[in-house]
């Protein structure tokens, strides 16, 4: 291996790492607030990439139908639970919040499909289109069992992944797509080594979004509420934070991250209806390195996963994924060796 090759692999690894970093942030955010390992995260990534590809091909993305169906189910679930609690007068509000709000990006998507609009608008609408997916799915399947054990939540979220990826196959077909580059051109490093603008964009997005996340958690009330819920759910309730509200916010933020990842990776990798799963799985390795709670450690873990993956593909292409997932073993051993064993599942709160 020469320095040139190492440099190319290193940059490739950083670009991969940037994607895993964003996905890892989303996974940690959802887990810390709701205790759900949100497996369908990757499917949302794939949906946003494939929606953008559909826009570029001049078609209306099938995601519209998916979001509207989910919204209808969520309205029904919400109306039913309100009616049972004898709060039927709040149903119109639920209709607006769960039915009308998710329909807005669908309307926009339907309006621009097949028309010559600037690429940036397509990107924005492709992201907006997938933002409702995670909150809606969570409202339908996860909120009613919000206080179940972590294992039950994991199994339900795994089932949701299979459901969503099945729907992805139905809507988008088995073949993959690529989208046009978001940024063209390249930057030449000292030493005459080119780095494509797309890769720079991916890294810049990761840095900017991480900074925004930091500001959100440190400076805003909503962010502090998220942190408070993550630290102690009962305590958060006692000071007037509503867990369902913070969970909704966490899902929406994660969905937004997934949408961004989708449009960032679509120009550099061929996306299939099920490609998101592997991105989610590798981000999960990064999140495990961060113990599913620490954002900075997750970021370091994500960069490590990206780098290992990139160099592993050079040494042994066939064993690449084996090497990446083997990272988990020493990490878990080290963590269990270092961690003081706390009691699990001590919190019990009623809905």
């Amino acid at each position: 291996m020469t320095w040139d090759v190492a440099l190319i692999l290193g940059i490739d690894g950083l670009a991969n790492g940037a994607v895993y970093l964003l996905a890892g942030l989303g996974l940690v955010l959802i887990f810390s607030v709701t205790r759900v390992v949100f497996v369908p995260f990757g499917d949302v990534v794939a949906f946003s990439a494939l929606s953008l590809a559909a826009f570029e091909a001049g078609r209306a993305p099938a995601t519209i139908g998916l979001v509207l169906t989910l919204a209808a189910l969520a309205v029904l679930a919400e109306a039913w639970s309100l009616w049972r609690r004898g709060e039927a007068r709040r149903i119109p509000r639920a209709l607006v919040g769960w039915g009308l709000l998710p329909a807005l990006p669908c309307l926009a998507a339907w309006a621009i499909a097949g028309r010559a609009v600037p690429g940036a608008l397509q990107v924005v609408i492709a992201i907006a289109l997938v933002v409702p997916i995670a909150p809606l799915v969570a409202r339908i399947a996860l909120q009613p069992i919000a206080d179940a054990s972590v294992l039950v939540l994991l199994i339900v979220s795994l089932a949701l992944h299979f459901l969503l990826s099945g729907l992805g196959l139905l809507f988008f077909g088995p073949e993959g797509s690529r989208t046009g580059p978001l940024a063209s051109g390249s930057l030449t490093l000292p030493g005459g080594f080119p780095v494509s603008a797309q890769v720079l964009l991916m890294m810049a997005s990761a840095i900017v979004l991480s900074a925004l996340f930091f500001l959100l958690f440190e400076r805003t009330v909503a962010g502090k509420a998220l942190r408070a819920t993550a630290v102690n759910r009962i305590g958060a309730r006692l000071v007037g934070i509503r867990p369902t509200r913070t969970a909704l916010l966490a899902y929406a933020l994660a969905s937004l991250l997934a949408g961004l990842i989708g449009v960032l990776v679509a120009p550099v990798t061929t996306m299939y209806y099920d490609s998101g799963f592997l991105i989610g799985l590798k981000a999960f390795v990064a999140a495990i390195i961060g113990g599913l709670v620490s954002y900075p450690l997750t970021a370091i873990g994500a960069l490590a996963v990206g780098g290992v993956e990139s160099f592993a593909s050079f040494w042994s292409g066939a064993l690449k994924d084996v090497i990446v997932f083997s990272l988990l073993i020493p990490v878990l051993m080290l963590r269990s060796f270092l961690a003081a064993h706390a009691e699990e599942e001590v919190e019990e709160i009623d809905p």
Binding site: T2, V5, I8, L9, D12, N16, P174, E175, G176, S177, R178, S196, V265, V268, T269, T270, Y272, D274, S275, L278, I279, S310, F311, A312, S313, F314, W315, G317, A318, K320, D321
Partner: protein
């Protein structure tokens, strides 16, 4: 009551007609994937078969019936389908399927029930033990030989290989090493990637660092486009060679400009219009195109539908000779035996993909006339003689 009687009478007439009509029509049984992940191959197979039925619907005045069953992309189901076709439908010949395992499953039933089988996909079976089976597909070696010939002509001395981690990647690699050695070409790498991989940068860097004169890829469909994109990104200047698994509109869509100039082998039907007028398969290939257009109201964009068309032509030719050879009626065991012998002595039957000559002891029946090298030029396949 009256209506009931009338209906019963109608049913009885229909029954009498179907029983009374000479049960001597020919019957083709096709088991194919019309649903599931393999349906993108199975559906063109069925369309091609329908085109063939419209093109040549009878032999010596006897109609050819077609019975199609869906295997749902499951090889176990295709074995069951084949049994159903033989036992319930009494078909004279079995055809299928949309994948190697499913084709093998049907061939086993054909052997057991003594029913001739014409495969549409390549099969890996011992011909000595499978006397009832032939296939119209080109063997991988024949295709890869054409590629290696082309490399030799272009002065290639070293070639890097990158392919799938699965059986297809192995098959292409072994065909490449087998053909390259006598041609004096050295295979310098055997890099692999999974169909689901997002990037092959590492593998491609390793190949580029070895400075081979050319690269051969062993992938198929859209995942097969990955090495093309990575090689272009790394500025690889040598020739890039593919194989027939990549002849597919989705590959062109995903590879985009990166696929430009790459060379691959395929059946001549893909570039039928560009073939010289004296090319043996040109006439049939063009007739296939127009029959397909008429029946399905869409042009052909794939190589698969033509295999069904050719299987049908091989069957029709053999059936005519079988009828001359035996007094037995279609639908009987004697007729199937005569049909098997007729298929096994097929001589110079011209199809859309190639000219077929089957003989006992070999599953394949095509020769050099069933392959051409094409070049991808601005999203179009161009004949590159």
């Amino acid at each position: 009551m009256n209506r009931l009687i009338r209906r019963a009478a109608l049913a009885a007439t229909a029954l009498a007609l179907s029983a009374g009509a000479p049960a001597a029509d020919l019957k083709v049984g096709l088991s194919i994937s019309l649903s599931g992940p393999n349906s993108s191959i199975g559906i063109p197979y069925q369309k091609g078969m329908l085109a063939a039925q419209a093109y040549k619907g009878e032999v010596n005045g006897r109609k050819i019936h077609l019975v199609v069953l869906d295997d749902g992309s499951d090889p176990t189901t295709s074995g069951r389908n084949a049994r159903k076709l033989v036992e319930e439908e009494k078909v004279d010949v079995l055809m299928g399927a949309s994948g190697v395992p499913a084709t093998i499953a049907i061939a086993q039933v054909g052997k057991e029930t003594r029913t001739p089988m014409i495969g549409l996909s390549p099969i890996l079976l011992d011909p000595a033990e499978n006397g009832w089976t032939v296939t119209v597909a080109q063997p991988t070696q024949l295709m890869v030989d054409a590629v290696v010939d082309r490399m030799k002509r272009s002065g290639v001395k070293t070639v890097g290989y990158i392919g799938f981690t699965d059986a297809w990647g192995d098959l292409v690699y072994s065909a490449l090493t087998k053909a390259a050695e006598p041609a004096g070409i050295k295979v310098v790498s055997n890099e692999r990637y999974a169909r689901s991989d997002a990037s092959v940068t590492g593998q491609v860097l390793k190949i580029v660092a070895l400075h081979p004169d050319a690269v051969m890829t062993g992938g198929s469909g859209t995942p097969g486009a990955l090495p093309y994109l990575a090689l272009t990104e790394r500025g690889f200047k040598g020739g890039v060679y593919g194989q027939h698994g990549l002849i597919n509109p989705d590959f062109i869509r995903v590879a985009g400009a990166a696929g430009n100039g790459s060379l691959m082998p395929t059946g001549p039907v893909i570039v039928a219009e560009q073939l010289p007028n004296d090319y043996p398969t040109k006439k049939v290939a063009l007739e296939f195109r127009s029959a397909f257009q008429k029946v399905n109201n869409a042009p052909t964009t794939d190589a698969f539908s033509a295999y069904s068309f050719d299987a049908w032509l091989v069957f029709a030719d053999a059936a005519a000779r079988a009828m001359a050879a035996t007094k037995a009626e279609p639908g009987t065991a004697e007729f199937r035996l005569a049909l098997r012998d007729a298929i096994m002595s097929t001589k110079e039957v011209v199809g859309a993909h190639g000219v077929y000559n089957f003989k006992p002891g070999s599953l394949y029946g095509v020769d050099n006339r069933a392959r051409v090298i094409v070049k991808l030029d601005n999203a179009q396949w161009k004949l590159a003689p």
